[in-house]
Symmetry: C2
Subunit: 512 residues, 2 copies
């Protein structure tokens, strides 16, 4: 069948109970009730502390074929996922589904265990490097399921993704199982992704290198959700968890893109006192933060709230009173972690509150402006952030399609070319975010507004920006670099890209 | 049948699907999964703000026979429950079940609507005054169901109490539906009871007299749970919501009881650095707070945490560093509300985190010491806090049985006599808290330790307290006042007292 995004979706896909094709960003209206978490009945003075990961695996009753989850707040500093998978492998448990909120290069270490059959399926936000290649290779028992952050929260809450055991890296954990991410040597800031796993997994194990006897004063994940606690020497490498504040780009192309994106915001009609914004963590987004700040100061405009993935430039705006409050699912650098720890206006939120389309209104619904990056865009404004020009998985869905659907103004920034490859195409290899939710494409050579947004086109006439049609942008790219060769793909489906509502927006086929 | 507390429970009770007799504080082990809340799918820029309570009732689809809920954080200052029930009555909707977290005297105003059939059943924590009399009268369609705070959270989460529409008084609410209890003229502090209703009700309406345009910086109930918002001139009378700090009792009998209770704590074996405690809001409890503070200062002991129902003496201990952190479901006075607003060590918690027996460990499970009051106690250490000496409902279950079951040391304080009536009896009229969870009874004439607690009896030998058997205490009371006449009761069951786990610990029969 062909879905609303124009993609051919097989009628049946291994591992998918019922293939629901994407039908438009809000076409699918769910009914019924969320899944109920398993009932616990913890008695007073139950001892949750176990001696080792091994003991915890035994205590959870983990068995062949179950699903395990992890959070990716430790990013490239994570030790937890690798340690747990290794311990599971030693026990001879096999055929697991791995369902972390995302994967990082550091997790390449588990590749041998995937090859040995300990893990036979993956459901996550995306993959990079060797893991991305492995996902694309078709070596797993069924296609990888790629979900956005909001889509994953939805899937967990409605039962599409049932987690048997969640293993949570806990920067700070008390002996009753209360957890926060702000204290200790492995502090990562927000625990937003882990909150959903903790609320719904059948069994929850906290792994901590900062066990404290007294109840926490700040609780991100409550003891009522935690079954077992294991104390480890170290759950992460602080250097990999958070960097110092990133330096703003000096790349003239990124700076130009950032300047254009800022111009789009300024003239969009949304740049008013009390507006709201989310910025990405890419180079152009970070540079845009600086320009936007200058515009806000010049026009005496403050934002009512900001949404992150949080980085230092956002904290700077919060501290200067340019943003009233920040809602935060994840922190990328040390200034952000310090801020969520110390500034009460910097609020932690769960992935469901952030972006789940099937609740009473995620915060993305309240966004005016979001700046998003892209690997490829196409003349229908579709965006690919998951596969590269060879068709290999090398990125993650993240909050891309969630924020694009929610925000009044979704700006996608991308270079027109990468090396000799055009990034504005007739047709992206993989659709993650459908064009009907993308409002503006900004490149260093020109700015294209989605024809659906006549209001925006009108507003931007006065901006002085190099407006052009998306077809013209593509033509410039193709004229410079030639028409790109299509990727040769097999029929084998190795990945399923779920839209945030659980429908299938695209599949990833194995490159030949 | 006769339950484990020795009470005769009818095999069938109107309105109870399956009568499960109480079998011991932890005998019932639940299985399966919690109920799943209804799936919402709020689109971006959905307008939640409605013009009136009437509009909100229409929008929720409220129909005859449904169940509505309210929270009682506004105590005797609450306008919300009365306004909503009145509006419902005007619409001609009838046969509702009223399921507030508790009821106050101010709610006597709804009695005409009960008599008219708008409300035909009640499930709550208790009742006082005219409402208590009405509940005891048998005029409702089925017996009132009395639940503890933890038991109510449990019942909501497992589906025993299905709430169709929750109406939440919101001291501060933004236009997306985020709520807190700490800002505005009707500030009540913690919103702990309302959190559970908001998470599970099919429809949630926020009623506020403090609607703000910008997202809140402190969120107790998230926008993801809220369907509709109504702005009202006033949702409560601040004078009724919170008093100033209560003056410590000067009643010599209460002071003596408080002194004895403090002695019990001091010599119990639990009075160590890092211990934890909950104090009630009654006169003797408040006085005990003062004495306990003195002992803690003298022995250089600090508590790792306190649990409340919070009052000013607790805040005083927090501010002086004698308590490291407070977990709070409800605030009783202005100093407590100010504290939860301004002191990050003063943490809000939901009723489920507080006391639900069927989760991964409520905070009551971590308690060392709790001081509880009582209407009557008996020689089996059973406690009645719900019916008076005429058999009429005049109190509330609250967190009584929850904390008694959870704490290492549950101390019940009560005067030996009230007027000419003994309060230590052969048999309490109604059991709310089973004797096997009560450790010590403290009266002004003597202190009785539960014979089950040989360790405590040994520890208290050195205390100098007037220790005696509970039989001796009763004898003193009966010798002074004569053996009380039994209450003459009909066979008609007008109330069901659920134990926190959902089993039936007692029934309330209509007095003749």
């Amino acid at each position: 069948m062909i879905n609303k995004a124009g993609r051919v979706i097989p009628d049946t896909i291994t591992g998918i109970t019922k293939v629901k094709p994407y039908a438009g960003p809000f076409a699918y209206v769910p009914e019924g009730r969320l899944v109920g978490p398993k009932i616990r009945a913890s008695r007073p003075r139950t001892e949750k502390l176990l001696k080792s990961i091994d003991q915890a695996i035994d205590a959870t009753g983990l068995k062949d074929g179950m699903t395990i989850s992890f959070h990716h707040h430790f990013r490239n500093g994570d030790y937890v996922l690798n340690l747990v998978v290794e311990a599971i492998a030693r026990k001879g448990i096999r055929g697991l589904t791995l369902a972390p909120s995302s994967l990082n290069d550091v997790n390449d270490q588990i590749i041998p265990f995937i090859e040995q059959g300990v893990i036979r399926a993956i459901e996550t936000s995306g993959g990079r490097g060797k893991l991305g290649k492995l996902m694309t290779s078709g070596k797993l028992d069924k296609p990888v399921i790629i979900r956005s952050h909001g889509g994953r929260a939805r899937a967990i809450e409605c039962g599409d993704l049932h987690i048997d055991v969640a293993f949570l890296g806990a920067p700070c954990c008390d002996t009753h199982g209360n957890i926060n991410g702000i204290e200790g040597k492995s502090a990562c800031g927000s625990m937003g992704y882990a909150m959903v796993d903790a609320a719904y997994a059948d069994k929850v194990v906290a792994l901590t290198d900062n066990l404290v006897a007294q109840p926490l004063h700040r609780i991100s994940i409550p003891q009522t959700h935690v079954d077992f606690i294991v104390e480890l020497e170290s759950i992460g490498d602080p250097k990999g968890i958070a960097s110092g504040a990133l330096r703003i780009s000096r790349d003239p192309r990124e700076l130009l893109i950032a300047e254009y994106a800022t111009g789009v915001i300024e003239y969009s009609g949304y740049f008013k006192d009390g507006y709201s914004l989310q910025l990405g963590s890419g180079g152009a987004s970070l540079a845009a933060a600086k320009f936007i700040k200058e515009k806000m100061l010049a026009h005496k405009i403050t934002a009512s709230f900001g949404v992150g993935g949080v980085t230092a430039p956002f904290i700077d705006m919060l501290d200067q009173g340019l943003i009233q409050t920040i809602f935060d699912t994840q922190d990328f650098d040390i200034p952000s972690i310090e801020s969520i720890k110390n500034n009460p206006r910097h609020q932690e939120m769960s992935a469901s509150f952030y972006a789940n389309p099937h609740n009473g209104g995620a915060i993305v619904n309240n966004l005016d402006v979001v700046i998003l990056s892209a690997t490829e865009v196409d003349v229908d404004f579709n965006v690919n952030v998951i596969t590269d020009s060879n068709g290999t998985i090398m990125g993650a869905s993240g909050g891309h399609c969630d924020t694009a659907a929610g925000a009044n103004l979704a700006i996608v920034v991308a270079p027109l070319m990468r090396g000799r490859l055009p990034m504005v195409l007739d047709r992206v290899n993989t659709i993650v975010t459908p064009g009907e939710t993308v409002d503006v494409i900004v490149t260093e050579r020109g700015v294209a507004v989605n024809p659906l947004r006549k209001d925006l086109i009108a507003n931007l006439q006065q901006s002085g920006l190099p407006l052009m049609s998306i077809q013209d942008l593509k033509k410039i790219a193709y004229d410079l670099a030639g028409t790109p060769e299509p990727i040769e793909l097999s029929d084998e489906v190795v990945g399923v890209v779920e839209y945030r509502d659980g429908t299938i927006i695209d599949v990833i086929r194995r490159p030949l």
